[in-house]
């Protein structure tokens, strides 16, 4: 039995997802490819967003993929770390902003 839930080699098998549902798999990968094409945002900017989101959703495959993608694009480690802090700030802020809900509840119920 596999001893870990994640195997780095599985990242390379991502495309095989289509084998069990070709229509949806193909549509997904077409969409995925289109999303990362240069548009109003550059491919470089999209790569940094993807890296930050990868950390937010804590996807090891995505972190692996978009760290490598960033290096290939010449993205520096300083840029990568700043992007991660944006993700961390939003994620931390998302917890903290719920404190307003807590405060509202306390203020309503507490004497």
């Amino acid at each position: 039995m596999q001893k870990t839930y994640y195997d780095p080699a599985d990242l390379k098998k991502f495309g095989k997802i289509s084998e069990w549902n070709e229509e949806l798999g193909t549509k997904f990968f077409d969409y995925y490819g289109k999303v990362f094409e240069e548009g109003a945002l550059t491919e470089r900017e999209k790569s940094l967003i993807a890296l930050a989101v990868s950390h937010t959703i804590q996807c090891p495959y995505c972190i692996d993929a978009y760290t490598g993608d960033g290096l290939q694009r010449g993205i520096t480690k300083e840029e990568m770390m700043e992007a991660l802090h944006v993700a961390a700030a939003i994620r931390g802020g998302a917890s903290l902003v719920h404190g307003v809900q807590m405060m509202n509840k306390v203020n309503k119920l507490d004497m």
Binding site: K12, E38, T42, E43, R44, G68, D69, L71, Q72, R73, G74, T76
Partner: protein
């Protein structure tokens, strides 16, 4: 300063050892296909030499820099330098070759004591594109080299120079401390006399090699980023960026093994294999001449001591009939030229 593999007496200074590594392990076990097997899948084996277009001359392995990724294992300690006699042989056959491009490389070609004489003589031959691969820092390294930009301009030399990143940190890490600042100074000197400037015929191209165990990204995207950053930070202009994959030989192979990246890198190269790039690999239209006048299919094969598969083995024996159609000598390092958009001394090919 980093020392060359030769100076360190590393086993990888021996090309036979490098070829052993590239032929054994994951390739011998069958985990990865050999390059021969891979190109055979698309009936592209054997690779055949076409008409010669680019004559690339390595005038010596001596260099003022010792870069981490150098496939030549060049450095100040290397004594292999092309003699004037060998240069004379080359001058005598340039016209016979029909090559439209003459490409001088090294080491730092400017460190060859006969460099200027050779450029002056070769520029009289009427080659369409005369390239010197200058590492830039040689220009600022010594007062005697400060007039190189004017010398290049006088002979209408096309300058191709390495610049792995637009930031100091990444550049110096690969090419040595102080290289970035010296390169910027040299680029400004070149720009000042017209090199790389809009509406100028003086061509200045930059070469990007990845600064680690990863493949280059899209060449045109990188070029845009380089242009934007070098213009914004230093008001520097250049013509084109060539994205070149690091081949797993010499000092880059040493780095891959030492950093435990060798197998992953070879997997990445094989995975990125592009049959369309095979048809356009540079060895099919290029001839590499070593410092001692011997012929090779490319500068990488020269460093691996893989001699050309022809009866004409030395520049003094040059014979188009014997060279055209020859089988190109290959090994697993060739995957470096066929990954993704392909890679050549002129950048991406596919």
């Amino acid at each position: 300063m980093l020392k060359s593999l030769h100076k360190r007496h590393s086993e990888l200074a021996n090309s036979k050892r490098q070829l052993e590594i590239l032929s054994n392990g994951i390739f011998k076990s069958g985990d990865l296909p050999t390059f021969k097997d891979k190109i055979s899948e698309t009936n592209q084996f054997p690779l055949k030499a076409k008409k010669l277009e680019i004559l690339q001359i390595n005038v010596g392995y001596m260099c003022n820099q010792v870069c981490e990724h150098c496939h030549v294992d060049a450095g100040p300690d290397r004594k292999e330098i092309m003699t004037r006699d060998t240069m004379q042989h080359i001058l005598e056959i340039i016209n016979q070759t029909g090559a439209h491009t003459l490409d001088l490389t090294g080491g730092a070609p400017e460190m060859n004591p006969n460099f200027r004489w050779f450029v002056e003589e070769a520029s009289k031959v009427g080659i369409k594109d005369f390239i010197v691969r200058s590492n830039l820092t040689i220009i600022t390294s010594n007062k005697k080299h400060h007039d190189l930009p004017e010398f290049f301009k006088k002979h209408n030399i096309h300058i191709v120079s390495s610049m792995p990143h637009w930031t100091k940190g990444k550049t110096d890490k690969q090419r040595g401390n102080g290289v970035f600042d010296a390169s910027i100074t040299a680029l400004k000197m070149l720009n000042a006399i017209g090199y790389g400037m809009p509406d100028s015929n003086l061509r200045l191209d930059l070469v990007y090699n990845p600064t680690g165990a990863f493949l280059p990204g899209n060449q045109s995207s990188l070029e845009k980023d380089f242009k934007k950053a070098l213009n914004a930070d230093f008001n520097i202009q250049f013509n084109n960026l060539f994205a070149i994959t690091n081949l797993p030989i010499s000092r880059f192979l040493d780095y891959l093994i030492a950093s435990d990246n060798y197998e992953d890198y070879m997997y990445a190269l094989v995975e990125a294999y592009n049959p369309a790039a095979v048809a356009k690999v540079m060895c099919t239209n290029t001839l590499s001449v070593s410092w001692d006048g011997y012929l090779y299919d490319c500068d990488f094969n020269q460093m691996l001591s893989l001699p050309i598969n022809s009866k004409a083995k030395h520049i003094s024996e040059y014979n188009e009939d014997l060279l055209i159609g020859r089988d190109i000598v290959i090994s697993q390092h060739c995957y470096g030229c066929t990954a993704g958009a392909g890679s050549s001394c002129q950048g991406s090919v596919a």
